[in-house]
Every structure is written in C-alpha cells, then in structure tokens.
Subunit: 206 residues, 2 copies
Amino acid sequence: MQIFCVNKSVRLGMPRLQETDVTVKERVRIGGRSARIQQAVHDAVRKLDAFSTRNQITVPQIAAEAGVTPSTIYRRWGDLSALLADVAVERLRPIADPDDTGSIEGDLRAFIEQYAEEMSSPVGLALMRDVLATTGQGQPGACAGFTCDHLTTINERAKARGEQPFDIDEVIDHVVAPIVYRTLFSDEMPTAAYCRQLVDRIYPKT
Amino acid sequence: MQIFCVNKSVRLGMPRLQETDVTVKERVRIGGRSARIQQAVHDAVRKLDAFSTRNQITVPQIAAEAGVTPSTIYRRWGDLSALLADVAVERLRPIADPDDTGSIEGDLRAFIEQYAEEMSSPVGLALMRDVLATTGQGQPGACAGFTCDHLTTINERAKARGEQPFDIDEVIDHVVAPIVYRTLFSDEMPTAAYCRQLVDRIYPKT
DNA sequence: CCCTTAATGCAAATATTTTGCGTTAACAAA
DNA sequence: TTTGTTAACGCAAAATATTTGCATTAAGGG
C-alpha cells in the first residue's frame, strides 16, 4: 500500500476546496474559478514533469498546458520554483495511513522501508529538492509534518492496542534523518538493510 | 576558530589554479584568463549575495559586477542555480582543520557545535539550499565529503594520540544527519544543548 | 439582485536567455 | 621563441521569459 502519491501519475478531477486555515478566512478566494485554475496548473505541472526533465519545464509551457495565461501563474505563485514547491508539497501529502501490521514495531519497520523507497526514488528526490529550493514559507516544515503525523498515527494505534509508544523525535533524528541525509547528499539510495539497521536502534534485535 | 568560510565576506585575490581531477587533464583550460573570469564571477556572486536576497540576484547583474558578458556565464555554468551551487560548494569547502582540543571527544564536540552553528545560520542554510537545488553533478556529495574529511582528521589525530577512533558513519547518521534534517525542514535552529545530546549517544555521559 | 474587489486575460514593455560569428588567448609542438 | 590549433570569450541579434497596466470576469457579502 502506498502512503504518498509520489509515484502517482497525473490525477485529474475536481478541486477539493480545502481551506488552509479556518481562523484566517479573510481575503482569500477559494471559490470555483480560482480553485479550478489552481488544479489545472497543478495538473499541468505533473503532466509536464512526467515527460520532460525538471529544468526544461517553463512557466509558459505550464500555462499553455493548463489553458491559462502565464501572468496568472506569475501573479499567484511568483516564480517557477515556488510553483514547483507548491506542487511538490501536494504530492508529498499523505493519501493514506501507514499499513497496520498488528504491532507497533511492524508498523514502524514497514513505514520506514516504504518511506525510504519513496523518498530515494527519482521522483521523491526531485520533489524533496523542489520543496527545499524555496526560500519562503514553511513548505519544508509541512513535509516534515507529514512524516510526524504518520509516526503519530502509528503511535496512537499502538496505544489503542496497549503497546508502549516510541519517542517520535528519536525516530525522526535517528531513522528518518539519516535516510534523508543520505538521499540528499549521496548518490546512492539507502538500502532496505540499512533502514532495518537504523530501526534496530529503536527496536534492538533480541 | 572557523572551519568553513561560510561567514566570510568577499575575498578578493588571484585565482588558485586547482585542477579538479589530475587524471582527466584533457581539453579543459585552466590557464590565466579562464581562471581569472571564474574568480571574478565567484567574487561577484558573493558580493551580490551579501547585499541582496537570494532570489533577486540575476545572471546579468552578476555579469556586470564581474565585468564579463552574460553569455559567458550561461555557457560556462548553464544557468543561475548551477552557478550558485558552484559558488556554494567553494564557500562550504573547509579552510581549516577542526580545533585540536586534546581529546577525541572534545574535538568531536567542538566540531559538531561549530558545524551546527554554521550550517543553521542564514548563510549556511542558503548555501546548503543552493547546493541541493542542482539536479546535476555530485555537488551535494562533495559537501558531505567535506564533513567526512573533518571527521577523518579528528580520528587520525586521535589515533596518533593512542585514542580509540569513533565510527564515522555512526557520527554522520546520528549526529550530523539530525542536525541537517532539522535545519532544512524546520524553521528553528538546532540548539547547542540539542547537539550535545546527540553527541552523548557517541560518548555517553558518565 | 447589486456592489465591491480579488483574480484573471490580454497585450505592451522590459528583462532574460540563447545563438551565430568573429576574436582572443591557452596550450602544445616545433 | 614562434606557430598552429582550438577552447573560451565578447558582441549583438534573435528568441524567450517575465513584468506591468488596464479592462474584464466572477466570488462573496449585503
């Protein structure tokens, strides 16, 4: 079962009218046209992303594919990297909870293996880079939040089973962080054996 | 003592004629003019970097500051992000060995504290982002190599003292990686206390 | 239904990147 | 030292991309 939509191909459909922050509902239009255009532009980016390599995608191309004017994209997103980061965050947003294997250790091991696989894939790596390339906002923070949410879910499920939860920060520091570091800074993907070894620090082999 | 030139202001001077790979000395001109232009362009980037924010630096600006034609920059580096990454790697290249505190644990603790401080600073963070933004070559790998070199230096010094060296991979996975992960994905800098806590895993407090 | 105004489209203005071609200068060989 | 070869550069025109002003559309509120 796939956790993120990292490998998903182009997904068409109507926009989901999600409000980022309910308390700040002021001057932001989330109605039909605006959402429709955002969806069209996002879809266009994903479509072009599948066919051409990252640094030969241009704003005018995206605009043409989405059926909008380039100036609309520039005004809404500022520049290409901001748009790519925005799309990347959406694609990294979880679409499902981690698999339930019946035990917290099993859940964590399964999640980490899949996480490493998705993040170190060409697509996952490109998405992480897109997210990190932006100077602005908290897009990287949002992505870290997704991981944190998943670990929390696993922990909650464990508590419901009566199992002892793990320390989320410890998993992030000593399992997730090494995987991400090696993915970003080395040219070889972390192996499944390597990931298992990292989790062994949380759940030592008996 | 400063390890990297992360915080260094513009450094003028003649180019150092370094050959990246001795075995491949074929059709690459490393002589006077070429090196002089590279140096001028690098200096221009650093100078502009100090005065304007990252995403308002342009190639024509850099070219004007360096006294070269924009086309030269495009032909040599391809695009702005590749140039920024190139400059960033140079600025992240070590200019000194880690401090010698007299013991391996002291050396490691001092190095990590300084590493965290430099990498999580606004300048260090921007440089890391520049390096990660490029799709091409192994610039991220080079930066990871710098860290690895420093740790190796500390280890060699320890061996000369008769001390037991640490496992470099373990330090990278469980000390360096968490610091980098939090720097990149969260908006708060890792504290000195947090770094100490990480090193405690390598050298437990008695 | 009407009013206000954020968001868009269009097109002109501006800035950038790319490209062809002549020139300069690095390197090798005589 | 001189000469030949050619990578790297400068220049300027062409092609693209980005910004901006203004008219128009449509969301959300009264």
